[in-house]
Amino acid sequence: MVSSPKNFLFLFLGLAGLTLATSGIALINLGGMNFPIAILIACLQASIIIYYYMHIQSAEILVKIFAVGTLLWLSILILLTFNDYFSRYWTTNPSLWP
């Protein structure tokens, strides 16, 4: 499992490259696409770190379950709260839905 330092160097360059990319893209006005691209790159960087730096692939199945469980709980917190914020102004008469 012990991969050579050279691999980690490439990983770092990849991550740094992604950071420069996301900063650069943020300067260009892509209309609605800015938001998803920035989040996508952040998720990509995050998965690189979790997979290679934190060696989750060599960890036990239990650790993977906890990692996925954390994402699930974060999504519960965010989705159910936004469920309230999105539907707050749908007054009960549907004609006024945005």
């Binding site: 102004y89 007054t91 008469n93 945005p98």
Partner: protein, 320 residues
Amino acid sequence: MHHEAIRIAGPVTTMSGVVDQLYWFLVFLTVLTSGLIIFLMLFFAVKYRRRPGHEVSHVVIEKTGLIEAIWIGVPLIVFLVIFFWGAKIYFQQMQVPAGALPIYCVAKQWMWKFQHPEGKREINELHIPIGVPIQVTLISQDVIHSFFVPAFRTKMDVLPNRYTNLWFQVNQPGEYKIFCSEYCGLWHSLMQGKVIAMTLDEYESWVDRGKKEPMALKGEQLIAKYGCWQCHQRGSTIASPIFDGLYGGKVHLSDGRTIVADETYIRESIVDPGRRLVAGYANVMPTFKDQISEEEILQLIAFIKSLGVSPGPASSEKTP
């Protein structure tokens, strides 16, 4: 009219009877189920208690799947029935019927201030006619309160940054206590009031007593006083949205969203203009945050409403 906090007997409002039906069903369910469980528990305890003649049974119950399924399935069905029943009542209680008599209520730390559209203002007392749906629009000046009338079986929190609505239609004249049921500080328990339900003609005579100054009229005077016409009128030099047909219409915001101009949006535009800017307008309007009181804002909104409710997006076209 005898004074009395609540009346369990006959339904006071159209909705309180419906809520009571759900209540008695739930009470029946609780008594039945807990009675069954406690009786079974005690029966087993007595029947199988350790005593000399008692032979210890070694039978091991294997097939428990069926009975487990029963006491998952049956509660599931019963719960879903209660859920839909409760949701139906909730929908009715949250949907203000058209043509309801509007009452405006401003909650302040430890008192209720009411305004009638005809201009009558009262503190901690609310006179309403019976037989007519009443809509109470609630706003708070400081912390979260909660407008709770036990007899009407209804309650709604009063938020400081948003209007919340509550409606009821009283059928029996009488006095009904108002409580503040969300903790709001030192004299939270002092914040009580009375709803006085009267027959229609009694209410008419009550409202006409004293000088009549409808809220819409006062709203118009306020608009002149605060100089809103300088911008918000056709032909004014500074481009700004006009009020005709604003209320209820769709407004296209500068960030691309379209919302419905309800009371909260209008109040927000007065108190914090830059928050939801109309598309195509600059954020130049000064804030009137601490200059216009909540009651006056309600009067301004009443005036804007009186300019007609427009379904179409008339309000966002520019002045020349």
